[in-house]
């Protein structure tokens, strides 16, 4: 009996580390858009080249700083006095809530914050385990809520200023020069943004794995971050980035505003500078909030482009419910795991996670967005659909086509078009 306890703890630790790496993968996958959406949208980079460049720089960025890793979890939940297995289970359930929310928002193409999903999941699981007093609400306000409100505003302000200045300085520039010369500026800015993303987001998973290792007793709380943790986290986020969350790239690059090369460059420089500074200060800012704020701010600085506020509103709703939604999943997972005991509870929660992600992935195949159609015009399909419906209605109304057969006729026409 005595011998089985460490084996159980080790098994839970292995599960937690694997699920944490899965979270890191979804984080990269979900956040490719933050760095590369403007470049893909303007055609500065081909979609595949964009994700490859972003993945490489995320990998490098993950090794540059560990300031954020030191702050993850600390000051948000009070886990003192919790035994190792329970702590690892709290972390596992928090990660499960975060992954499910990340994949769900990816399915809807919504750029929501992976960091908030992670914190939400951890808070939910902690409330389920320790009650409401287990959460340090002052820390939640200081580290999550206020930065969440301010990050998009600051990013929007900086991007607005940058875009306005750039447009003023290059009012009389030729269109050819804008396309050609600003392309390189945009690629540089997007590369900087990818590097910044690596310095900030890979750290969050490193912090979570560190927490699990401390809970297991493998590491001392004051120990340095082990190299293997840094390497596996860097590889996981880079692999996720390379997969490319095309749905989110499409929304951020094409949905919110039609991005010009000058605007894309300003938005990316704004995001990169803010994220690098926040990484330096150890502020776990949401890169998604920063990138989205920059895109909106740069769109507002242009008089010839309109921001699609309906898309921005959907995104805002997703931001508002990220924390409670991931928290609810995290709490539900912890309560469910409690029915089976620590080890079997961990296995059941992981099985639910795999099943939920597989179901969402299969659902995504119904309306596939990939590198081949990520840069298609946002409003074109809607206009085309409307035109087709108008044509069918007028054909029916004038008696040319029978009422019951318009769909069949449309199908034949589509096939012809495909050929």
């Amino acid at each position: 009996m005595v011998k089985t306890v460490p084996v159980t703890e080790l098994a839970i630790l292995v599960i937690v580390v694997l699920v944490a790496l899965a979270f890191d993968f979804t984080n990269g996958f979900h956040d490719t858009a933050n760095a590369m959406a403007p470049s893909v949208a303007t055609g500065a980079l081909k979609p595949k080249a964009a994700v490859a460049l972003s993945a490489s720089l995320n990998l490098v960025g993950a090794f540059l700083s560990i300031e954020v890793a030191r702050t993850v979890g600390s000051g948000i939940v009070d886990l003192t006095g919790v035994d190792g297995e329970s702590l690892m289970l709290i972390v596992l359930c928090g990660l499960t809530g975060a992954i499910i929310w990340n994949v769900l928002t990816w399915l809807f193409g919504l750029p929501s914050s992976s960091s908030h999903a992670l914190f939400g999941g951890l808070i939910g699981a902690t409330i389920a385990a320790l009650g409401i007093t287990g959460v340090l609400w002052g820390g939640v306000a200081q580290k999550i809520l206020i930065p969440a409100l301010l990050a998009p505003v600051i990013a929007g302000l900086v991007a607005f200023t940058g875009t306005w200045l750039v447009h003023r300085a290059t009012r009389r520039i030729s269109e050819r020069s804008e396309r050609k010369d600003f392309r390189w500026g945009q690629i540089g800015a997007a590369s900087l943004m990818s590097l910044a993303h690596g310095t900030n987001d890979a750290q969050k998973t490193m912090g979570v794995i560190f927490l699990a290792l401390v809970a297991h007793g493998t590491l001392d709380p004051e120990a340095d971050m082990p190299l293997w943790v840094r390497v596996v986290c860097a590889v996981a986020i880079a692999a996720g980035t390379y997969m490319g969350g095309w749905r989110v790239i499409r929304t951020l690059g094409k949905g919110i505003v039609d991005i010009s090369p000058r605007q894309g460059m300003s938005a990316d420089f704004s995001s990169a500078s803010i994220i690098l500074t926040s990484s330096h200060l150890g502020l776990p800012l949401s890169t998604t909030h920063v990138a989205s704020g920059s895109v909106i701010g740069s769109g507002m600085a242009r008089t010839d482009a309109k921001v699609r506020w309906s898309v921005a509103r959907r995104m805002l709703v997703a931001w508002l419910i990220t924390l409670p939604a991931a928290g609810a999943v995290g709490a539900a997972c912890f309560l469910l795991a409690g029915l089976f005991g620590h080890l079997w509870g961990s296995i059941v929660v992981t099985a639910i996670l795999i099943a939920a992600c597989a179901a969402m992935w299969l659902r995504s195949r119904a309306s596939h967005v990939g590198h081949h159609n990520v840069a298609d015009e946002w409003e074109q399909p809607k206009k085309e659909r409307k035109r087709e419906i108008d044509r069918e209605l007028s054909a029916v109304a004038s008696g040319i086509a029978p009422v019951s057969r318009p769909r069949k006729r449309k199908k034949r026409k589509d096939r012809g078009g495909d050929r």
Binding site: L64, S65, G75, L136, G138, G139, A141, Q142, I146, L150, I154, A155, L157, V158, A159, T161, G162, T163, L165, V166, A169, T170, I173, S174, S177, D181, F182, G185, G188, A189, L192, L195, T199, R262, M265, S266, F269, S270, S271, A272, S273, I274, L276, T277, S278, S279, H280, L281, L283, L285
Partner: protein, 75 residues
């Protein structure tokens, strides 16, 4: 954990200041460089290229200060 409004305020002001200096400054310098290269005045191409090189230096300096600032300069 208490709510440290002072520390949060300092962090926000730092992020905003660096954001405006680098995040809005580098694109402006780049834009001025492109405008100079496009202009047909004598010497403008050299000025333009110098401005583009300055952008690269500023971006690299930003990374070095932000990432290695503590080790190198104690900031």
């Amino acid at each position: 954990m208490g709510f440290d409004l002072g520390a949060l305020g300092v962090a926000i002001v730092s992020v905003l200041t660096v954001g405006l200096l680098l995040g809005a400054g580098i694109p402006l310098v780049y834009a001025l460089g492109i405008r100079s290269i496009e202009s047909e005045r004598p010497g403008s191409t050299a000025v333009g290229r110098a401005l583009l090189a300055l952008c690269v230096v500023l971006a690299l300096a930003g990374i070095v200060v932000i990432v290695f600032g503590k080790q190198l300069f104690g900031i």
